[in-house]
């Protein structure tokens, strides 16, 4: 039986449909990623799963408990790491963890034991009695993970876990999450709009405008893109595109002052391309498919465009719903 099971879930905010009838399930021990641009419905889905929001329709179950009917049982089974830090910066690391332990009804002895155990897992035992105020962004994140795991949840939710972290801390975070998964039998549900990050997942659902448009293992999703992306700049891109179309029967899309050609075995195609083109080739590069290309293929947009352009209204609505959710 899957540990998270979602059927036909939807959420409406006035005129906006944030989540539009999604269904998916996550098996125990999996790292499951929700990939999509800002405002695609990722955070709304997490908020429903962790009982902060009621769905407008559909059903969500975690560890066999219904998120609407049995919220306390669901809450006891999950740990959460939110997008923004939810530590009390006026308290010490120990005090924050103690607060959490008592909220989850651990008795004093067990709480003390777990606090020490988790602090050493995230390598913060030396900072136990320091105020959070003096912690760096990476340390705060690590402490939040320690806190999220303190009550031994069966599912850990990570909402954009590495947002705002520098690349080095981000990769340390991932080492840590992978280590964690090896040691504990924990299911991880995460959202991200970083493609590179989603590649760490066992399985990904690509979400856009509140709908799941693809799901599967990263490798499987990448197969949706036919092959490698060749980016070629020539002295006459228009004519080159025409020649590639007729000579190789491949579509060439104009992009960044050059042409993007999608092909299998790109490294073998390049010499033939250069040889065949009648104009001068200025530069060639090849990229193996990434999830970004998958997203592009599925939606016709890159994930970052989307974040910047037409979703301002949606983002605002999300901020509002976010606030309401916190009430």
């Amino acid at each position: 039986m899957p540990i998270i099971s979602v059927q036909n879930l939807s959420k409406q905010f006035k005129s906006l449909t944030a989540v539009d009838g999604i269904s998916f399930s996550v098996n125990e021990g999996e790292i499951f990623g929700f990939l999509g641009p800002n405002g695609a419905g990722k955070t709304t889905t997490i908020n429903i799963l962790c009982t902060l929001l009621s769905p407008s329709g559909g059903k969500a179950e975690i560890a066999g408990f219904d998120c609407t009917a049995d919220p306390d049982k669901v809450r006891a089974a999950i740990g959460l790491i939110f997008q923004d830090t939810t530590l009390d910066v006026g308290l010490t690391a120990y005090e924050n963890l103690k607060f959490h332990a008592y909220l989850y009804n651990l008795d004093r002895k067990l709480a003390e034991k777990r606090i020490d155990e988790m602090l050493s897992v995230v390598e913060l035992q030396g900072r136990k009695h320091d105020l959070i105020k003096n912690f760096s962004g990476g340390m705060k994140r690590r402490l939040e993970i320690a806190r999220g795991l303190l009550h031994y949840p069966r599912v850990l939710f990570l909402d954009e876990p590495t947002l705002g972290l520098d690349p080095q801390t981000r990769s340390t975070m991932w080492d840590f999450i992978n280590k964690l998964r090896q040691n504990e039998k924990i299911t991880v549900f995460m959202t991200t709009h970083y493609m590179e990050e989603a590649e760490n997942c066992d399985r990904i659902a690509v979400i856009d405008h509140g709908k799941i448009i693809a799901d599967g293992a990263p490798e499987k999703l990448k197969q949706l893109v036919r092959g490698d992306m060749i980016h070629i700049v020539t002295s006459d891109n228009k004519r080159a595109a025409e020649e590639i179309r007729t000579g190789f029967n491949l579509a060439a899309r104009e992009e960044n002052g050059g042409l993007a050609v999608e092909a299998e075995k790109g490294e073998e195609l390049i010499p033939r391309l250069i040889h065949a083109l009648s104009m001068r080739t200025l530069s060639v590069s090849i990229t193996k498919p990434t999830l970004n290309d998958v997203f592009l293929k599925l939606t016709g947009r890159t994930i970052r465009d989307e974040a910047l352009q037409d979703n301002r209204e949606v983002t605002r609505e999300f901020v509002r719903s976010h606030r309401r959710a916190q009430r």
């Binding site: 905010f13 306390d72 939810t86 006026g90 103690k98 008592y102 909220l103 989850y104 009804n105």
Partner: protein, 255 residues
Amino acid sequence: MIQWRPVYVICYREFIKFFRERSRLLGTIARPVLWLFVVGNGMASLIKPQTGFSYLQFIFPGMIGMTILFSSIFSSISIVWDREFGFMKEMLVAPISRLSIVIGKAISGTLISVAQAIIILLLIPFLGIHLTIMQFIEVVAVALLVSFCITSLGILIAARLTSFDGFNIIMNFLVMPMLFLSGAMYPVTSLPVVLRRMTLINPLTYGIDAFKHVLLRHSTPPLGPEFPLVQDIAIVTILSIIMLTLAALSFRKKD
């Protein structure tokens, strides 16, 4: 329905923060001290109460009420801070009832207010007021009740306040009028009818009236207490329960 370990740890956090943030402690104590020693002395030269006690003695019950008012409102407003800085989510996703959160905030806010009221009580020797041990205990008992009531009111407001911008509005349109229309600084019996009616729906009026019962025992209105003590206590208690229930209900609401 109420889980006590979470209630305990919510209080534990508030106490740590209260003692760590010295400026907050200083602020709530400085205000009544300023009133008592500066304004009180200034006014005393202007007003000569007829009934054999000084203006300072008259405003002392009101100053305890004022300390409690500000302290309790500040304590409960911490809920808005918690929301702004995301900490509220940590509590909302925990497997505890919303009532436990509200009770935890109410108990911690109440005890912190009473502690500050006691600090003000310790100024008594400097004011030429004599207080028996019994009176001291009675003041603390009334302070507990009044603090609980005002804290509950604060939590109810904080539960509905969505951002910190609303805080100034609350201060100017609720807290200050509550103070001015409570009989803390001057008798309210002879105010114009509209204002007089407002004093009657102000919970602080009954709280301060109860303090007057203990501290200005033998005086009569307009300076002394105007309602029976039983009525004061009954009204404050009933209001506390109503407001706390409403607060717990508005916490439970989700979209």
